[in-house]
């Protein structure tokens, strides 16, 4: 499982880095950034799903 942020959609609400800080961080303008290559370990899957279902812009994609 991998996470990605669609930069066209992200508006910097910050729900991803609030809810899944081991997978997402922010840049200097507050937009979400995937940490590392976005690989989600099994113990991070719950966080990843929380980030997806709380992003108001539907900007997070899981593959």
């Amino acid at each position: 499982m991998k996470v990605q942020i669609n930069p066209e959609r992200c508006q910097g609400h910050g729900r991803c880095y609030d809810l899944a800080p081991s997978l997402f961080g922010d840049d200097e303008e507050g937009y979400g950034q995937v940490l590392g290559d976005g690989t989600v370990s099994p113990d991070q899957e719950r966080e990843a799903r929380l980030a997806v279902v709380n992003c108001p812009e539907h900007a997070i994609e899981v593959t």
């Binding site: 508006q11 910050g14 507050g30």
Partner: protein, 422 residues
């Protein structure tokens, strides 16, 4: 350093009659919310949700001839579509009232970036984003927490306190004053500015212009003070900021200062007040949060969904048939994020407050390019205000439900909230 002559002349806002279009002021009881809505009538302020729920089922886009004509979409889908469609809906005014600024004020608008349209919008917004990231606003957290404790210390000996006036109100006022570098003792004046701008919508135009003029005079005095004594704050930052290789125009600087001052205050004040109002009425939720402080960040998002304080406005750019209605150029759109947040097509148990709701794509801070710039600041203030309150005050109830009053207009929250502390 040479004298900064950008600020030596009177600003147009404070002195001249504004260009633009005034419409007839229509007040009084609403006959039918589907055809005559008004967000300024007491019935709406007291409890807008049943009205919105009813409209969502039978309309779902209501109309009014008041304010020179406007529309009220109530479904999440329509609210989102408008928020994303900056081609057909302009932000050149975001307060629905009886005055429409002239079309040529776009794409900058009177208080960039909230009043700006693309392509200018992104540049004005980019200037401000770094100051409002989660990391940047966390610097205000210790002072915010200390203030919350101070406010609660002052409750000593009182059985009943007004949580809106004596607690919620002071928190955003003090924080934004610190960020802008304004004297903290000016806080009560800010409350007047907020009421003038956001609640005085149906005042006669002359009085409205005079009141707005008072705000701009105050801001200009702050600019002059910062020109003499530059500081590490947002006012000095805006005075020095550049766009496209030039310093900002005076009306951009002052308009943005007005935005930061006004937008940060009664929005967060409302969010804190509504959350405490809910907890005062719902002992099961209050006890659960006291027992599980870790749930607060989740509960807070639910309070933001269910009691979203902010409604925005847009102006229709051209005549068009849109989602089943015939919109005319310069019709208002009352962009109700609160109505969107209670749409059962978007949320399970939309009308209930579920404090452990796990999936919560609410739109309390807007959607699209105008996402609330201060959302990280608001969340920090709301979290600290509720954490501190719940850690200090175990049991509290509404002292007199009939004594609770709510603000009028596009920002909704309690303005009188007598709570009995035990």
């Amino acid at each position: 350093m040479s004298v900064d002559d950008r600020f030596t002349q009177d600003l147009p806002e404070s002195e001249e009659e504004p260009e633009g279009v005034l419409s007839e002021i229509i007040t009084g009881p609403v006959a039918d919310w589907a055809t005559d809505f008004s967000h300024l009538e007491p019935e709406w302020s007291a409890d807008p949700y049943p009205i919105q729920d009813d409209l969502r089922q039978r309309c779902p886009i209501a109309h009014t001839d008041r304010f020179g004509g406007g529309w009220l979409p109530t479904r999440y889908e329509d609210v989102a579509a408008i928020a994303y469609d900056t081609e057909r809906f302009s932000s050149r005014s975001i307060i629905m009232g009886n005055f429409r600024p002239p079309r040529d004020i776009a794409p900058v608008g009177g208080s960039p970036p909230i009043s700006s349209d693309p392509p200018f919008h992104q540049h004005a917004r980019k200037l401000l984003l770094p100051a409002f990231t989660k990391t940047a606003v966390s610097r205000q957290e210790p002072a915010t927490r200390a203030l919350c404790h101070e406010l609660i210390d002052a409750f000593e000996g009182q059985d009943v306190v007004d949580a809106a006036r004596d607690y919620a109100q002071h928190i955003p006022v003090r924080v934004i004053a610190a960020m802008l570098g304004f004297p903290p003792e000016d806080g009560l004046q800010f409350r007047e500015f907020v009421e003038d701008l956001l609640e005085g919508i149906n005042l006669p135009p002359d009085e409205r212009i005079e009141r707005v003029g008072r705000l701009f005079e105050y801001l200009l005095a702050q600019v002059h003070d910062h020109l003499e004594r530059p500081r590490e704050d947002l006012t000095s930052y805006l005075i020095d900021a550049e766009l496209f290789g030039h310093k900002l125009q005076a009306d951009h600087v002052v308009g943005t200062m007005a935005l930061l001052l006004i937008a940060g205050i009664d929005t967060t004040w409302s969010a804190i007040g509504s959350s405490l109002w809910h907890l005062a009425k719902n002992p099961a939720d209050r006890r659960r949060l006291a027992a599980e402080p870790g749930l607060l960040p989740v509960a807070m998002e639910e309070f933001l969904r269910a009691y979203a304080p902010v409604t925005m406005a847009r102006l229709v750019k051209e005549d068009m048939h849109w989602h089943g209605v015939d919109m005319k150029a310069d019709d208002w759109i009352l962009l109700s994020f609160p109505a969107a947040n209670r749409d059962p097509a978007q949320f399970d148990r939309a009308g209930e407050v579920v404090i452990d709701r796990q999936a919560n794509r609410h739109a309390a801070f807007g959607l699209g390019i105008h996402r609330c710039l201060g959302s990280h600041l608001a969340r920090m203030e709301l979290r600290v205000a509720l954490e501190t309150w719940l850690s200090r005050i175990g049991e509290f109830t509404l002292d007199d439900p009939a004594a609770v009053t709510w603000s009028a207009g596009q920002i909704r929250g309690p303005r009188t909230l007598p709570l009995r502390l035990r």
